[in-house]
């Protein structure tokens, strides 16, 4: 299973490698190999047709030529099919130029196939009729008749041979039957062999069988002598009948005697068993036989046979010797007569012509098949090569068009670097050069545009950086009042996270953040009035009890605000208009105004203290002098009046002195001496002064000291003012407060590096209408208050770079929150636990 479920990634990698191998190494060779194969095929086809016309040449290579041609055709077919397959894939993949290639290919193939088909049709017809025209029934009949005539002629010779053989047999039988005493004859002879040798000298063919000794052993003495005498008779008869060979055979076909011409071999040709059996039945055997001893037939190759066509013919006659008295069985006489050489030559010529014609007839069908096959191979080769060349031509023609399409697509996709290979000098080459020129110019333009855009981006980034680091808040709004850009200062001034500020339009922003309503109202009023002139307006914002005063400047951007409606029609959905709109620049002037106000109040206080404090002492002294001088001279009733009056004067003067001192204190320029101090210990020390009072005070803090940089004296004053104001407010409340209590909470915020002191009471709290002005002088809720306590608190807090906020707790009571920057060294020691101290 592991093998079957091979990772697809590996399979794909292998396929990619094979494809890469094919494209790099094999594909470039295909055209050359195909051309080579085509050349080899053409040569092989030529040799094939030449072998068909002349069988002696390339005969041994014929089959291999066929195989080479068939293999080459298959190779070309595979190449063409591969091209077709690739083209089909290209068409399916909508590769540019593939459909044009198909059309061109179709046209080329039709142009090539039509004449090839016509030529093939007529060539086939010509081959069929041409080969058939070689044959004629009359010629065939004439050759048959000639062969029959030859046979008839030879038959006459055969009958003559039969007649002569029969007569010889009769003579041989008669002579043998006359009662020759072979035994005595043989004994009278000094030697039979010698006698036969003598006979042989006169008649070279007469002989006994070579194996005479064995023959002697087998024959009886009388028969042996009889047979030996028969040789003489046979030789005599052979010469009388002009036979080539005459032999006498006994039982089982054994040779008894033989007489032959001198050119014949010593051993006579023995008839076959079938011949012997045929003759033993009392019938004769007569046959025409070609003589195998001719040199023309000594070789087995047809070439040798054709080189010596003449073949000697002989007539073999075998007849029984029925009256052979000396034999114990039937004896056979065989005679071989040579056919006249002239007749044999003519007959052989007739037979040769007959065989050639019959062979042609026999091979006619095969010959047609071979010609058709060769023609078919030639046609296939031509068609396949034509198709292949059509592929090559169509590809070459459509290749620049495909490159043009791809180049055009690349340009459409923004790729101007595409250059087309210009390797042609025709119109397509000119077109491709023009395309390259066009893309080069477009690329130059695009590069210039990109450069300008980069410059604009750089300028915008520069401006953005400047804006982000401006202390003034900058907002740019689109025509539809959507915030387009905002810097961090704007987000800080408006009290809105920068991210939210950049994803919302201004009305929606004001709905989400109600403290921005004054800003929206100011803008709305400006736009309603004019919108074209610059805006300069002071906007007061109160965010979570903290008041801020913004100086807002506005100006339209680029074009007239009022004309925005006409441009809106040109925008698509979702598009952000980068033109027009307005810019708002906001500056926090709270501190400036507060500073101016504080300076004014300080001047007023200083003058007031100076102008009032100077006459107070004479007034007090004068009142005391009046009481001292007149108290003794007046009656008791008047003295009491005087006493009350002077007492009132002195008290009021003291109160005014106290008030003047407060003013002087408020107006005094800060001369703080900042040192690192433990703010927790300082708060505890101040609280100890109020311990045991009517109002219960409680501090929640950690044991660890919390360090800040501050002036201990001024901070003590700040705490006294806070606690005193709170305690007096609780005691002087319109409705008495049960268990008046002031809670202090001191903590260190590590994240913001701020020390926070929270002072809360359980009194009636601040009137909401006074919250905005609670830190201004003469703003107080107590009948006897000077309204300077919280103003001094705020002043001392700001001297320490801190912030103060007043509010009412949700559960009731006033809440004052003080924040001071923590001393840097004290941040790392905030490991104490909260501690509650009364």
């Amino acid at each position: 299973m592991g093998v079957l479920n091979a990772p697809p990634a590996k399979t794909h990698a292998t396929a990619r490698y094979l494809r890469s191998l094919y494209r790099r190494h094999i594909r470039p060779l295909v055209p050359w190999v195909s051309a080579l194969v085509a050349l080899v095929l053409m040569g092989s086809l030529y040799l094939l047709t030449d072998a068909l016309q002349n069988s002696t040449r390339y005969e041994s290579l014929y089959v291999w030529l066929l195989a080479v041609n068939a293999g080459g055709v298959l190779f070309l077919l595979a190449v063409v099919l591969a091209h077709v397959w690739r083209l089909w894939l290209s068409v399916r993949a909508h590769v540019p130029g593939s459909r044009l290639t198909v059309r061109l290919l179709r046209a080329y193939v039709l142009l090539g196939l039509a004449p090839a088909a016509i030529v093939f049709f007529f060539s086939m017809n010509f081959i069929q009729r041409g080969i058939d025209s070689w044959f004629d029934v009359r010629i065939e009949q004439a050759l048959n008749d000639a062969l029959e005539l030859s046979r008839a002629s030879l038959e006459v010779r055969m009958r003559e041979a039969l007649r002569l053989t029969r007569r010889a047999a009769e003579q041989l039988s008669d002579s043998e039957g006359s009662g020759l005493d072979a035994r005595s004859s043989l004994s009278a002879m000094p030697s039979l062999q010698q006698g036969l040798g003598d006979l042989g000298a006169g008649s070279p063919g007469a002989s006994l069988p070579q194996d005479a000794s064995s023959l002697e052993e087998r024959l009886a003495p009388s028969e042996q002598a009889h047979d030996e005498l028969a040789v003489l008779a046979l030789d005599k008869l052979r010469r009388e009948t002009d036979a080539l060979e005459m032999s006498l055979f006994g039982a089982g076909g054994r040779i008894i005697a033989s007489a032959a011409d001198g050119s014949r071999a010593l051993v006579p040709e023995r008839p076959g068993e079938s011949v012997l059996a045929h003759v033993r039945q009392g019938r004769h055997y007569l046959a025409l036989e070609p003589m195998g001893s001719q040199a023309s037939r000594s070789a087995a190759s047809p070439e040798d046979a054709e080189a010596n066509p003449a073949d000697a013919l002989a007539v073999r006659v075998v007849v029984p010797l029925e009256r052979y008295a000396g034999a114990s069985d039937h004896r056979l006489l065989q005679a071989i007569f040579l056919v006249d050489a002239r007749l044999a030559t003519l007959a052989d010529s007739v037979q040769s012509a007959f065989h050639q014609y019959r062979e042609l007839i026999y091979l006619r069908h095969s010959l047609k098949q071979n010609f058709v096959m060769a023609l078919g191979l030639a046609l296939l080769l031509s068609v396949l090569m034509a198709v292949w060349l059509a592929f090559v031509a169509a590809t070459r023609l459509t290749e620049p068009i495909r490159d043009l399409v791809l180049g055009t697509r690349a340009v459409a996709d923004g790729d101007y670097s595409r250059r087309l290979p210009v390797q042609r000098t025709d119109d397509l080459g000119l077109l491709m050069r023009s395309f390259n020129t066009m893309t080069a110019r477009i690329a130059e333009s695009a590069e210039e545009t990109r450069r300008l855009k980069d410059e604009a981006d750089a300028q915008r980034d520069y401006l953005e950086t400047v804006l982000q680091h401006l202390s003034s808040g900058v907002l740019t709004l689109s025509d539809d009042a959507q915030v387009r850009h905002a810097n961090a200062a704007a987000a800080s001034l408006l009290g809105v996270p920068l991210g939210e500020l950049q994803q919302i339009d201004l009305p929606a922003l004001c709905e989400c953040y109600e403290h921005l309503l004054p800003l929206c109202e100011a803008l709305e009023g400006w736009l309603r009035q004019d919108g074209a002139s610059e805006l300069l307006r002071e906007v007061r914002l109160v965010n979570e009890g903290e008041r801020s005063i913004l100086m807002v400047r506005g100006a339209p951007l680029a074009h007239d605000w009022a004309q925005g409606g006409s441009r809106y029609e040109l925008r698509g959905a979702g598009e952000v208009n980068e033109e027009g709109g307005l810019v708002l620049v906001m500056d926090d002037i709270t501190a400036i105004i507060q500073g101016q106000r504080d300076a004014a109040w300080s001047e007023v206080a200083r003058r007031l203290a100076h102008e009032i404090k100077n006459p107070l002492t004479p007034i007090q002294l004068s009142a005391e002098r009046l009481r001292r001088k007149l108290g003794a001279v007046l009656n008791e009733a008047d003295a009491q009046v005087l006493e009350r009056a002077t007492h009132t004067i002195v008290q009021q003067v003291e109160a005014m002195k106290h008030m003047v001192n407060d003013f002087a204190e408020y107006a005094r320029m800060p001369q703080s001496r900042m040192t690192a101090l433990d703010f927790t210990a300082l708060v505890r020390d101040v609280l100890d002064l109020y311990r045991g009072g009517v109002v219960r005070m409680r501090l929640v803090s950690k044991d660890a000291p919390i360090w800040i940089d501050g002036d201990a004296l001024r901070l003590r004053q700040l705490l006294h003012n806070l606690l005193k104001n709170a305690a007096e407010a609780l005691q002087e409340a319109a409705q008495p407060v049960e268990s008046p209590q002031i809670n202090l909470s001191l903590s260190l915020r590590q994240s913001s590096r701020q020390v926070e002191l929270l002072v809360e009471d359980n009194g009636p709290g601040f009137p909401p209408e006074l919250l905005e002005h609670i830190f201004e002088p003469y703003v107080t809720t107590r009948p006897k208050g000077t309204g300077l306590g919280l103003a001094i608190v705020k002043k001392i807090t700001e001297e320490h770079a801190g912030k103060v906020r007043v509010s009412n707790a949700p559960e009731g009571g006033a809440r004052v929150q003080l924040c001071f920057p923590a001393h840097l060294d004290g941040l790392e020691h905030d490991d104490g636990v909260d501690k509650l101290a009364d």
């Binding site: 089959v63 099919l81 037939r297 070789a299 087995a300 007959f354 065989h355 091979l363």
Partner: protein, 192 residues
């Protein structure tokens, strides 16, 4: 089939079919060697063999039309030399040319060897007789005795086949693929 693979499985199949038809061993009917033996005698190595040779009508028609058929007795004698492998001896190859003599209406067989030897031609009234004569050769001279030194271990193999190269050119392609023309026996092995 995966995309991008072999594009023409049909073409491959057709090629395999053609190759299988091409093989001469595809059709081996009609001829079989039943016995073969060699004998060292008279200073020579002689071959006696028996085979079954059945000629088809195609061959009979071809013979009657004057086409000559050549049968070859391929004989290979190898000497087993143990660790040194085998050594093939040079032996004569014998061919029997069979033809029809129209005048005498006889079938004639002519024997010849690659060494230039030949036997006396034989005539037969029937095709069966001629085929029987070809398939039962006796005393075919193969090599001199000196080529077969004794003692030694020898192996012989022989086969009888129709020689296609001797056929007329037009019928050779048909003879390559037609089963009736695939007259070639398997190798017969023997040791001596």
């Amino acid at each position: 089939m995966a995309r991008g693979g072999f594009a023409c499985p049909g073409l491959l199949g057709m090629l395999l079919v053609i190759l299988s038809l091409w093989s001469p061993l595809a059709y081996a009917g009609g001829v079989s060697v039943t016995r073969a033996s060699t004998e060292l005698r008279d200073g020579s190595l002689w071959l006696d063999a028996d085979a079954r040779l059945e000629l088809f009508k195609d061959q009979a028609d071809a013979l009657s039309s004057g086409v000559q058929l050549v049968f070859a007795w391929d004989v290979v004698i190898e000497q087993d030399r143990g660790w040194w492998g085998t050594r093939e001896l040079n032996t004569d190859a014998w061919r029997a040319r069979l033809e029809y003599h129209s005048l005498s209406q006889l079938y004639r067989v002519f024997w010849s060897s690659s060494g230039g030897q030949s036997l006396e031609p034989e005539s037969f009234a029937s095709l069966e007789g001629a085929a029987d004569y070809i398939s039962h050769p006796r005393n075919l001279w193969l090599a001199p005795a000196s080529a077969v030194p004794l003692p030694g271990a020898y192996r012989g193999r022989a086969r009888l086949r129709l020689v296609h190269d001797s056929l007329p050119l037009p019928i050779r392609p048909r003879a390559l693929f037609a089963s009736s023309w695939q007259l070639s026996s398997e190798w017969y092995l023997w040791a001596f």
